[in-house]
């Protein structure tokens, strides 16, 4: 199935292996694929280069996110079967190839090649890479799964923080007429092509570092001082195993699908429109008291809140439990949305505070979901189940911008909107969060009829080594 140097049995950790090597291995992958959220750096350059509309160029990002969800869903079982090294290696090859084909498209003025390269091929790399370390981390950190997955998935948020300034500097290096600090300056298509080639090579090296650092724990391994019986005592944490095929037949899977969909849609509602939104909220006539540069700073601040939320909230879930933390994400998120719509227009500080809280819950929702799945379905095929659940992300990626743009289109023209124009979109998000809150309340332990027989799950690691 995979070359021997990638085989799962070659990655089993020996005695004395330090499990704290696994989070940086996972981060090496997630920091690279997180670049997908930094595409705005060269978006205008591509619009000019291809003489295309913003929508046509925006499709590149949309294809990549849809392919992320689809490939995670389709390849999840393969990732679980073949282990993290094969998955990270494959993800690195797809992500690298995506940049190379994308560069070819830019160099030969063929936008469809960028769709195929960065969108389709790169998107497959995104999906496989996103889920590749999750089940391994959960197995290495059975005592703190939220902390472990939070650290890795934090990298997906952090990837854009690195790629955004780095891309600006590289574009300025490749195009002497481009100034990354001047919002009116546009880089040449040639410089974006060189940027794609550079990023592709750098990301390949980084992801290979992750692939060849990662290990899986030996059968029966457990951390020093960890007593699995303490986990068993918690009502919402199972010691049984549910297969991916069975998981999608349970109401719990679909309730969590709704929870993730609502949480992500609400977050995207702000992320999608962040820079113009803060300017519109503090608009007086044709002018806004928030400059374009400050609006860019607001977007950066939200990225940090998104990233920090992934680590902080997911780690907190290890202490207070998965269901209560989602009640916080959805319940307090709902309250923050109401306050953003009503009190937000009165103060920039309050507006930024409420938006940052919402984005931290958005990130937390992403990072905590693998641990929630582990609690409900066990570790047996948690990677594959997580992959299937990520279709909620793809759906939210379409629904979130659609909801916001539909309301704003009906309210007026960009550049003339005010805080009142956002009310409809924001209160729709409040309704969505309420639906998610109820869905989370309905989550109960999975019925025993879906559990795998003990002998089958015990045989799985042996089969996967064949």
């Amino acid at each position: 199935m995979v070359p021997s140097f990638l085989a799962r049995e070659r990655t089993v950790a020996g005695p004395g292996f330090n499990r704290w090597l696994i989070p940086p291995a996972a981060l090496a992958v997630h920091l690279c694929i997180g670049q997908v959220y930094a595409t705005s750096v060269y978006k205008t350059a591509l619009v000019k280069h291809f003489d295309a509309s913003l929508t046509s160029v925006g499709v590149i990002f949309s294809i990549a996110i849809v392919m992320l969800g689809l490939s995670a869903a389709v390849m999840g079982t393969w990732v679980d079967r073949n282990g993290p090294r094969a998955a990270m290696f494959t993800s690195a090859c797809f992500w690298f190839a995506g940049f190379m084909v994308g560069a070819l498209g830019i160099g030969t003025d063929q936008l469809w090649l960028v769709y195929l390269g960065y969108g389709v091929i790169g998107g497959i790399g995104l999906g496989i890479g996103y889920i590749s370390p999750v089940s391994t981390l959960i197995k290495w950190f059975p005592d703190r799964p939220g902390l472990a997955t939070g650290m890795a998935i934090m990298g997906f948020g952090g990837g854009a923080l690195i790629a955004s300034p780095l891309s600006g500097r590289l574009l300025a290096l490749y195009d002497s007429g481009y100034d990354s600090t001047d919002s009116t300056s546009v880089a040449s298509g040639h410089s974006v092509m060189l940027l794609f080639l550079t990023l592709g090579v750098v990301y390949l090296c980084f992801m290979m570092f992750g692939a060849f650092t990662v290990r899986v724990p030996a059968d029966g391994w457990r951390p020093d001082g960890f007593d699995p019986s303490t986990v068993k005592e918690q009502k919402m944490v199972t010691t049984a195993s549910v297969s991916a095929a069975n998981a999608i037949r349970t109401p719990q899977f679909w309730l969590l699908w709704v929870v993730l969909f609502c949480n992500v849609t609400a977050g995207i509602g702000i992320l999608e429109q962040a820079a113009p939104m803060i300017q519109d909220f503090f608009r007086d006539g044709a002018d806004s008291s928030v400059t374009a540069a400050a609006a860019g700073g607001f977007v950066g601040l939200l990225s940090i809140a998104n990233m920090a939320g992934r680590f902080v909230w997911s780690s907190t879930s290890d202490v207070i439990g998965r269901k209560p933390i989602y009640m916080l994400y959805l319940g307090a998120g709902l309250a923050a949305y109401v306050l953003l719509a009503t009190v937000g227009p009165n103060s920039t500080v309050l507006f930024v505070l409420f938006a940052a809280i919402i984005l931290s819950f958005y990130g937390g929702g992403f990072a905590t979901i693998p641990a929630y799945l582990r609690d409900l379905f066990g570790t047996y095929q948690v990677g594959a189940i997580h992959g299937r659940l990520l279709t909620a992300w793809s759906a939210a990626g379409v629904a979130g911008p659609l909801i916001v743009n539909a309301f704003l289109d009906a309210e007026g023209t960009p550049g003339e909107l005010t805080a009142a124009a956002y009310r409809g979109a924001l209160f729709t998000m409040v309704g969505l969060l309420a639906v998610g809150f109820v869905a989370n309340l309905l989550v109960r332990p999975v019925s025993e009829k879906y559990h795998e027989p003990k002998d089958r799950t015990a045989a799985q690691p042996e089969r996967s080594r064949a």
Partner: protein
Amino acid sequence: MSARVAVAWAVVGIPLVYGIVETLNKASSLFTK
């Protein structure tokens, strides 16, 4: 093994710190006139 762990964290930590510092610098313009 400890040295290997330190190097691995440095490989991912240094770029991450770079990204956070750059972003905070940019975000500071939000609260300065």
